[in-house]
Symmetry: C2
Subunit: 513 residues, 2 copies
Amino acid sequence: MALEKHGKAIDLSHHLSDLSRARGTSPLKGLIKYVTKPGTISLAGGMPHPSYFPYADISANALASDNFALEPTRPDSSVSWFWKLFGAGSSKEKIMPITIPKCPSQADDINLAVSLQYVYKPAYSDWTTLVQTGNTDGWSRALQTLCNPGELILTEEWTYPSALANSQPFNIFPVPIAMDSEGMRSDDLRKVLSEWDETARGGKRPHVMYTVPVGQNPSGATMGLERKKEIYDICVEFDIIIVEDDPYYFLQEGQYKPKSERSSQSAHKDPGDFIANLVPSYLKVDYQGRVIRLDTFSKTIAPGSRLGFFTCNPRFAERLERHGETTTQAPCGFGQSLITQLLKSWGYEGYTRWLHGLAVQYTGRRDYIIDCFAEEFHLRSSIGTTGIWNGLEVYDLYAKPKRNASGLEKFDFGPKLISFVPPTSGMFIWLKINFRTHPSFKEGDEEPLETQLFIKLAEGGVLVAPGWFFAATDNVLDSGEGHVRISFSNVDFDALKKAVGIFGTVLRDFFKE
Amino acid sequence: MALEKHGKAIDLSHHLSDLSRARGTSPLKGLIKYVTKPGTISLAGGMPHPSYFPYADISANALASDNFALEPTRPDSSVSWFWKLFGAGSSKEKIMPITIPKCPSQADDINLAVSLQYVYKPAYSDWTTLVQTGNTDGWSRALQTLCNPGELILTEEWTYPSALANSQPFNIFPVPIAMDSEGMRSDDLRKVLSEWDETARGGKRPHVMYTVPVGQNPSGATMGLERKKEIYDICVEFDIIIVEDDPYYFLQEGQYKPKSERSSQSAHKDPGDFIANLVPSYLKVDYQGRVIRLDTFSKTIAPGSRLGFFTCNPRFAERLERHGETTTQAPCGFGQSLITQLLKSWGYEGYTRWLHGLAVQYTGRRDYIIDCFAEEFHLRSSIGTTGIWNGLEVYDLYAKPKRNASGLEKFDFGPKLISFVPPTSGMFIWLKINFRTHPSFKEGDEEPLETQLFIKLAEGGVLVAPGWFFAATDNVLDSGEGHVRISFSNVDFDALKKAVGIFGTVLRDFFKE
């Protein structure tokens, strides 16, 4: 693919929905020159005087950007344990006080756009950024900006449920594209688009794709640059807009290695290397302006931030902004100022150091939970031959541990219950449950063993996310292959270990029935 | 009207829109008992561990609830001047530090619902509250919950532009109801509904009303209890849902009195009296659950709060919540915690004291700007005979001041340029400009003198909100009677005075042309 870098975005305004066009333009836009005239006294707005805001200043004890060492936290001496026992301000935390005065002494907003140039500069010149209130809002606005009711959209065959929940009311439904270890498959995408049959499909060929390319939800798959180029080229050919929802982008963890092969040395010590080693965003190959990228602070600062931003071409940004003006307005000012002040205090280097520290922490958590599974079950690896893991190193969990209680090696591992590919990014492990070995399983059975297992696990004290919840359509469900999505992001290490133990007990019991 | 108080809401679910019905129910709702089971380890979500949030705590120097005296700030010794000169923490401000730790030591959320019982308890029993991200979001969600595309809605003939801007994309347009000093007129509402002609009106009779009953935007009108009862009864008769957008509710200022008649004594010294003397909300008369009330902290805490709440029946609340889950999710956690902690620190008494102080401040600002107009122009009062001010004491501004530069009384006041009714609530004065006395005015003229005046004012250094911006439909526009909306909420007293001076100079010059 020849990248025509740094030309302007091409005209893609034919993708705008009727709803988006009908938003009109801001009626005061023509008068904007008066609004911005220096020295003008404005009696036009309906804003209170700032002296009536009941805060003189807001402060926070922020954490230093190097709060987390670049070694994974050891489960037996974890920061999170200290944190839990002694609360904030424990001796393990590096504190950096920040304050946001009511009257800023100077306007020196951090320029996200400039900072981002280091991270994922688009391959065209006139891109822009726009704040939103988190990626669910971002996708909801992108959807209404691009799609008319009754249209179909392209998604991974397993995807983020809320992305479907906010398109469904508009009678907009997904066309699932098959996945492999890198997420969406380019060959299946081409097949679906080139063989499109309006009558059989019940609608026009989609012109919008929703995709989570890094640490995909729920599969954990991460897409490399080559696959992104392939998919982008297909999207150019079939005139498709890509909405890239990338909340887990900075949680890239690298390959899982068994405990015995793991070096205590961290792979990337230098923050510059950390950024340089991240798989590039779709923006990197976007020379036409057909990518709307959604970034959020939900996974790197806190979900309650409700703050994120679009990166896209200016024509789409103008529509997205107008949508925001008439619904959420700007994101919360408290959140914006606390995050802006934090980023200013950290600086670009500090921010990337923080992200690097987080990625190392998540790597440690990912490794720990897989280690726990390897202890609880007998774990063997094999090369996948079908479906989403074809050709990949797949980890299989057999019912019985390799050693019995007296420590003696065993050779009867029982049936293969679970398969998974260790994720290289994100927060999730996507476990495939082999219900075909279940005593009461019948091919084509309507009885949802997956739901039964979910309930048994919950009754045993472990809550997982049931696989059906993530199915783009019912067609991707297979009663012989259930799924559960397990998150290793949130609970403490001791609870992770305990949960895997319960998981083993419940699963072995379930398969005995 | 016989109020059947404290019965349950009646079934109004036939008002739900197709879009709202299509949102379905939360797919995990049936499994909620497992989610809430004590002791369960959750691997289900995708939330980071709180130790990964880069804040140990958040603090603020909040203002004490009695920061503002219950006397209006004097323009010549204003807190806002001190604030401007010395910034936050000036000796005039009463500071109350608050802190939000990362790990709360106990769960003791302030119960808004309980506090609100004192303020505006609905006349049925099973009402509920739900947070939203400000009233523009609230109305946008209520609209999509209640209306199908192509429907018509009832509004005041002049109304909040963003309320129309977010219904227009759905092909939902307003049916304007005539107004008087209390806002929407009940007689015109009955006339419009009882004489409804689908063909002539281009659609079915509306089943949703959007109204701003206190300090109405832009007219400043405030509706008393009797009028609300009349309108509510009509809404029962014609099965209409009332969406009550009430951002200015606590800024009730009472009647304007000319400077000479004004007592230095504040009317209400006791916070209990302050609340008791507020005009009641529509909720007070809502015995069926057909009111969706929108409250916001935008005007009483800060617009950047992006935090407000619905009060409505549980059936509507469930749909509004589902809409939120798939778009904005919860309001920003930083904002929620800073406002919650403030309200907890103030307590209910403190909060009402703060609101009382604010209302007194706005009363002082309202009085001051009208005093300025009375000095800049010659002001006479008359009784309105037509239109929205029929029967009311109307203030008329004549071109020339009552005294000339040498202080001598004059009797030629020139033409009557402006009429207005001093608002009793809110932030706005709605000035009617008498373009019929303009030299170049012709009846039915398409030439927009209002826009010309807007530009002259802006060029002179004063920005106002042009009247056409608030017209529910073009039919309410009259080239002989223009409007401008003036806000007295935001600029300092000296700027208010200066702006009125510029206003006088520009207006006299404009009418000389």
